[in-house]
């Protein structure tokens, strides 16, 4: 058994004490010195990290610091994870804390919820969020609601993570963006990292947050490198959930985006600057829920124009939400009607050409903004 957890939830406090006697294998006490292959150094103390390595470091640090944390999922241990995010963790932390499960998302997501109800802080990996559809009842009906329905007695500190959205050539059943799905559920927090710092800081915040948190990663970003500041390399680094980040300051238009689309929006912003002299502010949402409305409102006060960019389906999505907020809070500040750029209303096709047509790219974002500003 992972921990001595035979007591019922009513004796959670007693259990908390029991849990503090860590069942951490000796190897886990090694310093969190990064054994990561792809870290590159530069002079200012900032290092280049891939998103994959940043996530791996976040997991390693939390496993190291908190004996209640354990990882479960399909092929996360022996195989190091389908996308190698959990690489080396089995060797470091042992098979009680990094566990492979049979192929039953419903089963292991439910087990994660159960372990969380019992006071642990499981991190449950889905090979992709698409497969979490099999487990959605556990995530929503149990994970998200138990705290509320138990009158606040029963928290559920579980973290669900995995790649979200489309990848390359994997068709409709492997290419959905779940930001809007989970973003609509009271009781869940939802984060969606773009850079390596986002990835590390948000995942750590998710694990520490006492609520169930959905971490929507992106397969196409795993191998991408980003600079990681000295502060972010430390093991106490977290990115607060619910705070957006202004990735690029600007004065003419606010582009609000998340995940991979942040990078595309930044490229579009540079092109808008060089081609039209348009100064675009790019906001990286980081959190889908809670959503940082204030940062958006403040930015729009300055720029008077708003475009939301996401790769989910057009209807009832993150973009729709931001435009609704614009109507509620920014109506008087806006010079132009707020716009959105989204994925196409189609189950993601396999064929390369069709797939490319299904999602926003730098060019489309640039065009949309240029049209809006009539430049």
């Amino acid at each position: 058994m992972l921990f001595n957890s035979t007591k019922t939830f009513l004796t959670r406090r007693a259990l908390g004490a029991a849990i503090k006697t860590p069942v951490v294998p000796a190897v886990a006490r090694l310093p969190v010195a990064v054994k990561l292959s792809q870290v590159r150094y530069n002079s200012s103390g900032t290092k280049e990290y891939t998103v994959r390595d940043a996530l791996n470091e976040a997991l390693a640090e939390e496993l190291e610091q908190n004996p209640k944390v354990f990882i479960l999922g399909e092929e996360v241990a022996q195989y190091n994870g389908a996308y190698k995010v959990t690489k080396g963790l089995l060797d470091r932390f042992g098979e009680k804390r990094v566990i492979d499960t049979p192929i039953t998302e419903h089963g292991f997501a439910g087990m994660a919820v159960g372990a969380a109800l019992h006071g642990l802080q499981p991190v449950c990996e889905f090979m992709t969020w698409n497969f979490a559809m099999q487990a959605i009842d556990q995530i929503i009906n149990s994970g998200a609601k138990t705290h509320y329905m138990s009158g606040g007695i029963q928290p559920c500190n579980v973290t669900f993570r995995g790649p979200n959205g489309f990848a390359a050539g994997v068709a409709a059943q492997h290419s959905q963006d779940y930001s809007a799905w989970y973003g609509s559920i009271p009781g869940l927090k939802v984060v969606s990292p773009w850079s390596a710092e986002d990835a590390k800081g948000l995942l750590k915040a998710a694990i520490r947050d006492p609520n169930p948190v959905i971490v929507l990663e992106n397969e196409l970003l795993y191998g991408q490198s980003f600079p990681m500041s000295e502060a972010a390399q430390k093991s106490d680094f977290v990115v607060p959930i619910g705070k957006a980040k202004i990735e690029r300051a600007g004065t003419d238009v606010t582009i609000v985006s998340l995940s991979r689309c942040v990078g595309q929006s930044l490229v579009a912003a540079d092109n808008l600057q060089s081609k039209y002299g348009v100064s675009a502010e790019v906001i990286n949402l980081r959190s889908v829920k809670p959503l940082d409305v204030e940062t958006i409102v403040e930015s729009v006060k300055k720029t008077k124009n708003l475009v939301a960019v996401e790769s989910g389906f057009p209807m009832f999505g993150v973009g729709s939400e931001i435009l609704a907020l614009a109507m509620e809070y920014m109506f008087d500040t806006l010079d132009t009607p707020a716009q959105r750029v989204t994925g196409a209303e189609v189950p993601t096709p396999y064929a390369q050409g069709l797939e490319a047509l299904s999602f926003p790219d730098e060019h489309i974002i640039e065009k949309k903004v240029a049209q809006l500003l009539r430049v």
Partner: protein, 437 residues
């Protein structure tokens, strides 16, 4: 104020909803006094015992594995008579070989970047071909993704395989699905679905439809032992049993689910033991023995069709290939193990031994077959690779049965733009070119 939902529920049920009056109900189960057997609603043939003992799985002998021929190709089941004449036997053999030759070529072509993804069925050709050979033409198939041999036997042509893999204009899925997600209306093969195990309850639904039609046909449902961990597997078997659905469940137990070895997938006696738990007639067969697979499937089909009952077959094999082109299995198993399996036993060589013992096959014929098959596959490959892509109008079709007015407008707009600026659009590689809109 919110409307009161409850008000919608009538306080007294209408007559039609009151079917279960006490007089129409069957008498309930009762426990007769002094009986030595339990007659509770949940169990009716269980003897009372005064021994406090648990049933331990390790005390129950593992379900035996049926063989028709042994590894040397010698018939060991002397009782069963199989209706496999020379013609059928050779078709079965050729289809296994064709599947394996196609697999090798397509695997390499993915390595060369000519298709994006592929999954081979090496070591499992006997399960797919042998089971399909026992079906009737009108039977329905729901498969996982490693059953190309079954399609081959049914008559899915090399051109059809290649068109799907290259997502060209002849791909029934119009380029919308990943490679190896085949389908065929003609052959009653339902589209392969990526999320594991979802096809298993679908198969039960299809079987129920056949049952309501009083059809003599059955549904054949393939899946792997890994997929059998999903909830859908359990739900499907239970419903099939309780509703007496004419479906044959065939589990390919090939030792691995990507990197997860079978021994970490479950602790019971394979998948077969679960069939018994659900009240389903079950057999375990040697998957390297195509004759055994054939014999078992034929008998299972009979049960499903005539007695309207589900049947479970667990076919044991070993996945000698990598899981898919995205996998390198030597990261989690030793290459020597795989080589050993390949050398020791294989459905193709085993069946060939039997054919040769019957004097139905020779070394010359073998060489000729392999040369010809390679040629055929490569011809279909080249043709499919060059074939044009689906027509541009297909961008707008099939999200809904009938395109919405917005979609129709978008299509018209695209047509107008292309007509206005013909030089800007090179649609030569799409079916019908500019006329394809």
């Amino acid at each position: 104020m919110r409307p009161v939902l409850r008000a919608r529920i009538p306080l007294t049920l209408p007559a039609s909803r009151r079917a279960f009056t006490p007089s129409t109900l069957r008498p309930g189960i009762r426990q007769p006094p002094d009986s030595d057997t339990v007659r509770f609603p949940g169990a009716v043939e269980s003897k009372f015992t005064h021994e406090l003992s648990f049933h331990r799985p390790q005390d129950v002998p593992a379900m035996p594995t049926y063989r028709f021929i042994n590894a040397e190709g010698v018939v060991v089941d002397k009782k069963s008579k199989l209706d496999i004449g020379k013609e059928k036997a050779l078709k079965m053999y050729k289809d296994m070989v064709t599947a394996s030759v196609m697999d090798l070529i397509m695997y390499d072509s993915q390595r060369q970047g000519r298709i994006s993804f592929y999954m081979v069925s090496a070591g499992e050709e006997g399960i797919a071909v042998g089971s399909a050979a026992a079906l009737h033409d009108e039977d329905v198939i729901y498969s996982q993704y490693r059953e190309q041999g079954a399609l081959m036997y049914r008559g899915y042509t090399l051109d059809e395989f290649m068109s799907q893999l290259f997502a060209n204009k002849k791909d029934y899925g119009k380029g919308r699905n990943m490679p190896v997600h085949y389908m065929s209306e003609r052959l009653r093969l339902f589209p392969i679905s990526s999320p594991l195990a979802t096809q298993i309850p679908h198969a039960v639904g299809a079987a129920y439809a056949l049952k309501l039609d009083n059809s003599p046909n059955i549904v054949m449902c393939y899946f792997g032992e890994g997929a059998a961990s999903e909830g859908d597997f359990h739900a499907a078997l239970n419903i099939a049993a309780t509703r007496d659905c004419p479906v044959v469940f065939l589990c390919r137990n090939n030792g691995y689910a990507i990197s997860t070895p079978t021994l970490e997938q479950y602790k019971g006696d394979g998948i077969a033991s679960r069939g018994i738990g659900y009240g389903i007639e079950t057999i375990r067969v040697d998957g390297n023995d195509i004759m055994a697979v054939y014999a078992a499937t034929k008998a299972a089909r009979e049960t499903a069709s005539k007695r309207q009952k589900p049947v479970l077959i667990e076919a044991m094999s070993y996945r000698v290939s990598h899981h898919s082109t995205s996998d390198d299995s030597f990261a989690y198993r030793a290459k020597v193990d795989v080589e050993e399996w390949k050398r020791r036993d294989n459905p193709i060589t085993r069946f060939r031994k039997w054919l040769e013992a019957n004097n139905w096959w020779s070394g010359d014929e073998e060489t000729a077959l392999r040369t010809q098959t390679r040629k055929d596959v490569l011809r279909a490959f080249t043709k499919a690779e060059k074939e044009s892509k689906p027509a541009v109008r297909e961008i707008f079709t099939d999200v809904f049965k009938h395109a919405t007015p917005e979609l129709q407008e978008q299509r018209e707009e695209l047509r107008r733009i292309i007509e206005a600026y013909p030089e800007e659009y090179d649609l030569g590689e799409y079916d019908g070119g500019k006329a394809g809109i």
